[in-house]
């Protein structure tokens, strides 16, 4: 068996594959953050909470209404997006004139509220969400068993990310979004319904988080803390990639998933910190982030 630094190459491939799955979640979450940040200039601290909410919605749908996974995949993100609409219309809306920091603070408060609520209702120990039947089992890739569901997660995340990228960079709606990002008042004065666009953007961004949550539900525990655990890492990912570009968010997310996967093999002790260490290094050599645009 060929080995790299004492690790069989095949198990290394397996680890990379798993890294890619984690990377897909990072990518999808940082993409949502980037989209929201772009349009609203708000760093959505509640993103993790919405991700958790997505997972919970699908669990609740299954438990109370016997809605299956596929419908959840559609309904749960819609539900999350609806909450997003309410949040945007009743709260965030009042902050656009102010320093961006207030958006961060508000969403931080929201994250606490949402997390506290779910903790109170469903406890902290987590709820099980079974794999849908067609995803039971694994592909035998020869060197490893790739669980079917994980493969699906990679495919689903990547397609969603690509679609989002296409819409924003290549369509007319996208150019409204980008222009609105810079000077919403002016864009509105040109005849575009900016308030609606902003609401929908926020809804879309948190909907993405919700979707990630549904995808994560069968893999991880459906747990009120799952959001706050992941969100800080995603922030680091965003700093590394720079929020300047959609593609940057996706690529960085995937790459960091891979790197984290490798660390787990070669030096597992550091796997919790590796992302932050990379962030520090990137800050030293490219303060604006790998894909960031300097203002």
């Amino acid at each position: 068996m060929t080995e790299i630094f004492g690790v069989p190459i095949q198990s290394l491939m397996g680890q990379l594959m798993i890294g890619l799955v984690n990377g897909s979640f990072y990518a999808m979450l940082s993409l949502g953050l980037a989209v929201i940040f772009g349009m609203l200039n708000v760093v959505n601290f509640a993103h993790g909470a919405f991700y958790m909410m997505g997972a919970f919605f699908s669990w609740l749908l299954l438990k109370h209404f016997e809605v299956n996974y596929w419908w959840s995949l559609l309904l749960a993100p819609l539900g999350v997006a609806t909450v997003g609409v309410v949040v945007e219309k009743t709260m965030l809306r009042w902050l656009y004139q102010l320093d961006h920091l207030y958006g961060l603070l508000l969403t931080f408060g929201l994250a606490l509220i949402i997390e506290g609520f779910f903790r109170d209702q469903y406890g902290v120990s987590g709820q099980p969400y079974d794999l849908p039947d067609i995803f039971k089992g694994a592909f035998d890739l020869g060197f490893m068993m790739l669980p079917k569901y994980r493969a699906w997660v990679i495919v689903a995340c990547l397609s969603v990310c690509l679609a989002t990228w296409f819409v924003i960079e290549r369509t007319r709606l996208g150019s409204y979004l980008r222009a609105g990002t810079e000077n919403p008042k002016l864009v509105q004065a040109f005849g575009i319904n900016v308030p609606l666009m902003v609401t929908l953007t926020y809804a879309f961004g948190v909907g993405l988080a919700g979707l990630a949550g549904v995808l994560a539900a069968p893999v991880y525990q459906v747990n009120p803390l799952m959001g706050s655990n992941i969100i800080i890492v995603v922030f680091a990912v965003v700093v590394i990639g720079g929020m300047g570009s959609i593609l940057g968010a996706v690529v960085t997310g995937l790459a960091l998933g891979l790197i984290e996967g490798l660390t787990k093999v070669f030096y597992p002790e550091a796997s919790a910190t590796v992302v932050f260490i990379i962030m520090a290094i990137v800050l030293l050599i490219r303060p604006a982030g790998l894909f960031g645009r300097e203002k």
């Binding site: 680890q15 120990s125 002790e269």
Partner: protein, 386 residues
């Protein structure tokens, strides 16, 4: 000035139940623990020396400083005589330390750190009532190796607790003639265990020992089942609670080995108490709830027997009297504060075997208290050496 016999120092006996009401361990302790304590007081008769026994409870939010703050106020201002439960090892150590300083009895049930009767011991005020990490390792290690599981690979949470759990269990396995093939250390609160499990898988060990706790254990078990690891290897959770099994679901957890100090479905006595508890809480009790009940009852009996709530006198009585109730048979509180009682190895039932909600375990073995817990001779408790 010793208080007159038959009279509490300040007229009333007042106990505190400090627990995690809302956090990770709220199901393990939480409101259920308070209920258990209240049941004990009611069963005792509700009165001591003619005065109603009082109970206060608080949420420590799993923060040691909150716990310390609350307990300090209890001792300083609210005239609380003894505190119970004190789940989570940071809290337990903090509270026990305070008890030592203020000379008040502190009974720990929920926390499993063996430091409580070693480095941080307090023989004159602290009691560790339920299980500790050494016992956990002992039971799982010995029983499984005996059962044929002689090659081990550990999945260890990378902090002091995980390390000591891994080491203690490893030693037991080796002593019993088994082999430890390796270990991988994962960071605390990892959400994805798959890559660590792949490493466990390639080790080809028969048993994968999970030297972690709480959500980490739950997540490792889920990932193990997803990656088909449980087909060729068996998992042994070194610290797993029935609430964790409940949240993983039998489908995933089936076949898993674990250690407990108590289970509701062991004998008529446990079932009867569990039924009474369930009537109030609409849930089955776990070992911690039973331990809280038992320890409160034992404390009250000791106060009555001593005729005072004076710490030294009560503690002396508590240590003299053996514990015989639905929680433990022939249990005894040792000099170092360790309550020694029998421990059990369980295996999680398959969904087919499970007949009712919370019908989760089959008993695989019983380990006598003296074999399960660390011997007094091995103790690193400095206060005992003097």
């Amino acid at each position: 000035q010793a208080p007159a016999p038959g009279k509490a120092s300040d007229d009333v006996v007042k106990i505190g139940v400090l627990t995690d009401m809302s956090g990770v361990y709220a199901d393990y302790g939480g409101p259920g623990a308070v209920t258990a304590a209240k049941m004990a007081i009611e069963d005792f008769g509700g009165k001591m020396f003619g005065k109603t026994i009082e109970i206060v409870s608080a949420d420590h939010q799993n923060k040691a400083d909150v716990a310390k703050n609350v307990t300090q106020q209890w001792f300083d201002r609210d005239k609380v005589d003894a505190t119970f439960e004190n789940l989570n090892s940071a809290v337990a150590i903090a509270v026990q330390g305070l008890g030592k300083e203020k000379n008040k009895i502190t009974v720990v049930t929920g926390a499993a750190s063996s430091k409580l009767t070693n480095e941080e011991c307090s023989p004159n005020s602290g009691i560790h009532y339920l299980m500790d990490t050494i016992a956990l390792g002992n039971v799982v290690g010995k029983a499984i190796v005996k059962d044929g599981g002689d090659t081990w690979f550990f999945l260890t949470a990378d902090y002091a607790f995980g390390h000591s759990l891994e080491k203690d269990t490893g030693d037991v396995v080796k002593a019993a003639g088994g082999k430890v093939l390796g270990a991988v250390r994962h960071p605390l609160s990892t959400s994805d265990f798959s890559s660590f499990l792949l490493q466990a898988q390639s080790s080809k060990a028969k048993i994968v020992g999970l030297a972690n706790a709480g959500l980490d254990t739950v997540n490792s078990i889920k990932a193990a089942s997803e990656f088909g690891i449980t087909k060729n290897q068996n998992l042994a959770a070194l610290l797993m609670l029935i609430t964790d099994v409940h949240s993983v679901g039998l489908n995933t957890a089936q076949g898993l080995y674990l250690t407990e100090g108590w289970y509701w479905d062991m004998n008529p006595e446990t079932r009867a108490w569990a039924k009474r508890y369930e009537e109030r809480m609409k849930k089955k009790p776990n070992s911690n709830h039973a331990a809280v009940y038992s320890s409160v009852m034992h404390y009250l009996n000791a106060v009555k027997a001593a005729g005072t709530d004076d710490t030294a006198a009560v503690l002396k009585k508590m240590k003299e009297t053996p514990i015989n109730d639905m929680f433990a048979k022939g249990g005894k509180i040792r000099e170092d504060g360790r309550m020694v009682h029998d421990m059990y190895l369980f295996q999680v039932k398959t969904p087919a075997e499970s007949k009712a909600p919370w019908d989760y375990y089959k008993l695989k073995g019983t380990v006598k208290g003296d074999d399960a817990f660390q011997s007094l001779a091995m103790s690193r408790c400095a206060a005992l050496k003097k």
